[in-house]
């Protein structure tokens, strides 16, 4: 099965383009996903992830390019082929005044299911997303995490060939988040092709077989984690825990010879250097002069955040974000 499916990818996206007035949201995105593969689109807010996913599932018209599901073109009007796609939108898309079961049955019918098959599948999905006990309560009474889980469950109902997950863990408590990631891991093993967008490096590293790094509507690099990290070459990633004006400190750091990039992320200053040991004294001095108090210094194994910094000169998330 693996051999046959890896020959023809489940999803092929070629040179996808979309413009909103002056904003070129997607500028020639190309990638493909094989059966059983989980592909991550990692990029900051506004990178064009949602717009890309919307065009893949035929929710938005595109200005250029093509989307093929099992070789069949997907478009807004291509109704039949959509049966092979499960879509989990970034924003919750469930009826708050209906129960989880009613929501599932409704969308199941739209996916073309019915009768005993639908009933038993709804039971299975409720079990999978851990909502069996609350299945007959209105979803307005659910916690944010439960609503997110239902949002995902609806996309799984009809066992699609391709599952599109658009930042499914945004705004979810850590416990629910972990449960969600675990169940997505399990889905990939079931042979589903999964497209997963996120701006969390850890999620991309944990879930995805391959990752496309997207910024300003373009995929800047693509590959396995190992391949992507190799792009950095023999650079070192230095993480400074510090207090004060970190943005000013990042600007100061960038001016230091031997520093490839510096950006603020999650209250830390992330720095890429050609050689950490050589550059560290000058870096600390520059940061100190910028009026920032350094509390800790870590030289860390480069990760996808470092790759993003390397490629774009920016952090994946804004300061504090």
């Amino acid at each position: 099965m693996v051999a046959a499916s890896s020959a023809v990818p489940v999803l092929q996206v070629r040179d996808l383009r979309k413009r909103f007035g002056a904003v070129e949201a997607v500028r020639g995105v190309t990638f493909s996903i094989a059966a059983g593969e989980t592909y991550g689109l990692l990029g900051p807010n506004g990178a064009g992830k949602t717009t890309t996913i919307s065009m893949i599932c035929g929710l938005r018209s595109r200005d250029g390019g093509e989307v093929l599901l099992d070789g069949q073109p997907v478009d807004v009007g291509a109704v039949g082929v959509k049966a092979g796609i499960g879509f989990v939108p970034q924003e919750l898309a469930i009826y708050p005044d209906l129960t989880a079961r009613e929501n599932l049955v409704f969308f199941g019918r739209l996916y073309g299911m019915g009768g005993a098959e639908l009933r038993s599948r709804v039971g299975e999905v409720l079990e999978l997303i851990g909502l069996t006990d609350r299945a007959n309560d209105r979803t307005a009474t659910y916690s944010g995490g439960m609503q997110r889980r239902l949002n995902i469950g609806i996309g799984l109902l009809h066992r699609p060939r391709l599952l599109l997950l658009d930042e499914p863990t945004v705004g979810v408590d850590p416990q629910s988040r972990n449960a969600i990631l675990e169940s997505i891991d399990a889905l990939g093993e079931g042979g589903m092709a999964i497209l997963y967008t996120t701006h969390y490096m850890e999620e991309a590293e944990r879930l995805c077989d391959r990752v496309g790094i997207i910024d300003q509507g373009q995929i800047r690099a693509e590959g396995t984690r190992r391949e992507l990290v190799a792009l950095i070459g023999r650079q070192d990633q230095v993480r400074l825990t510090a207090g004060g004006d970190l943005v000013a400190a990042a600007a100061a750091a960038r001016a230091v010879p031997g520093i490839v990039g510096a950006a603020v992320q999650d209250g830390c200053l992330e720095v890429l250097a050609v050689n950490a040991r050589e550059v560290l004294p000058r870096l600390l001095e520059a940061v100190h002069r910028a009026g920032v108090l350094v509390k800790g210094v870590d030289v860390v194994e480069p990760d996808l955040e470092a790759v993003f910094l390397h490629l774009t000169g920016k952090a994946l998330r804004d300061a504090g974000g």
Partner: protein
């Protein structure tokens, strides 16, 4: 699942959600019940115009005139207030549509030389004026007998009573002596048609339309919840989604219409005419309501905007279309404007069913015009709705 079944499924979910919403349950069932019961209490559960008569006791001629007015029970609901003051007060308060005062000594006066006056009490609106014609006809009928009898008595044909007897016997066979009453400017509004029936019909149309308007807010909510976009990611055509959403609104409106018809006819005996024809008018009208709701929902960007636009449209179209005041008392310009409003076609159709007792063919043009309104507005709404979810 085929497209048609998906349309039904989307409609079913809409209906379920709307019935679950307490405020809309109030709008759909409670409020119309209150209005219909209030109408019923005000108009005494009668579908006929109420006419109060004060007549001298023991006067044969007066009794004959009253009998004449009571003759056609489909026309008037005759009440007998104690005195003229009570009668006047009841007409003023709208508890009676009109009043007739037969003066004391009426019978004797008829035999005299002077003109006998029968007083008609009514507010100066078209409602009372419409009632006046049949009453005048009854009085004229008696006047014909009196004229004949006076002529007979004057020419020495015997006693007054004998002359009356001769005149009464002769009248039906004497051509041309009955005073014909010709209504000028169309028939009276309330011929065969009571205030309550008028009220029930116009309130039904007003409410069914307003109820549909609550669907506009619901539609916006579906849009902002992202559910309609999600529907489009399933193998479901835009056309199917639009039809399903419309049918959902329509189902709620029809449910309410059926409820109002049932309560008003079973509890208060309001007549609706031929059931098939009335049903077709109500169906076509509800479709217009659903279409307008879809259009407002598709054009609005938030639920508050949709709700206020919807209520405004419901009340404004209702008023212009003749749901609040009858066309007959509107200025000509407003009557012309009313022809452009769907409500007027529904009102005139429903009224004609009760007044003339015709079948569906008699109101075919009303149904066609309503269906045309619905088709045009619905196409516009579908186009805008598609635009708002696909972009």
């Amino acid at each position: 699942m085929s497209g048609a079944l998906k349309v039904l499924e989307i409609a079913r979910i809409n209906l379920l959600r709307q019935l679950r919403d307490r405020s809309s349950a109030f709008f759909v069932f409670v409020l119309p019940t209150i209005i219909v019961v209030a109408l019923g209490l005000q108009f005494g559960g009668s579908s006929r115009a109420r006419v109060g008569i004060v007549a001298p006791a023991g006067d044969a001629a007066a009794a004959a005139l009253v009998a004449l007015l009571e003759e056609d029970p489909a026309r008037f609901d005759i009440r007998r207030p104690a005195d003229v003051a009570t009668l006047r007060a009841q007409v003023e308060r709208g508890q009676l549509e009109a009043g007739v005062v037969i003066p004391s000594g009426y019978g004797a006066a008829l035999g005299g030389e002077r003109t006998v006056e029968v007083e008609f009490l009514g507010t100066m609106d078209a409602l009372s004026q419409g009632i006046r014609a049949p009453i005048e006809a009854a009085v004229a009928h008696q006047a014909a007998i009196v004229t004949a009898a006076r002529v007979a008595a004057g020419s020495g044909a015997g006693t007054w009573d004998a002359a009356v007897a001769v005149a009464e016997a002769a009248l039906p066979s004497i051509p041309g002596i009955r005073v014909p009453v010709t209504r000028v400017g169309g028939e009276g509004l309330f011929a065969n048609f009571g205030m309550f029936t008028f009220g029930a019909q116009t309130q039904l149309l007003l409410f069914v339309f307003l109820t549909s308007m609550t669907g506009a807010g619901q539609l916006v909510l579906t849009k902002t919840l992202g559910v309609s976009r999600r529907m489009l990611s399933t193998p479901t055509a835009v056309r199917t989604i639009v039809l399903g959403e419309t049918l959902g609104r329509l189902a709620v409106a029809l449910l309410q219409a059926a409820y109002i018809v049932a309560v008003s006819s079973l509890v208060f005996g309001v007549a609706w005419g031929d059931p098939l024809a009335a049903g077709a008018i109500i169906l076509a009208f509800s479709l217009v309501g659903a279409a307008v709701a879809m259009l407002i929902g598709a054009l609005s960007s938030n639920a508050e905007q949709a709700s206020s636009l919807g209520v405004f449209a419901g009340l404004a179209l209702g008023a212009l279309g003749g749901c609040m005041i009858p066309f007959e008392i509107m200025p000509q310009v407003m009557q012309d404007v009313a022809r452009l409003i769907p409500h007027s076609w529904a009102i005139l159709g429903l009224r004609s069913l009760v007044q003339h007792g015709g079948g569906i063919e008699s109101v075919a043009s009303n149904i066609a015009v309503l269906a045309g309104f619905a088709a045009v507005i619905l196409s516009l709404a579908a186009w805008r709705f598609r635009g708002s979810i696909v972009r």
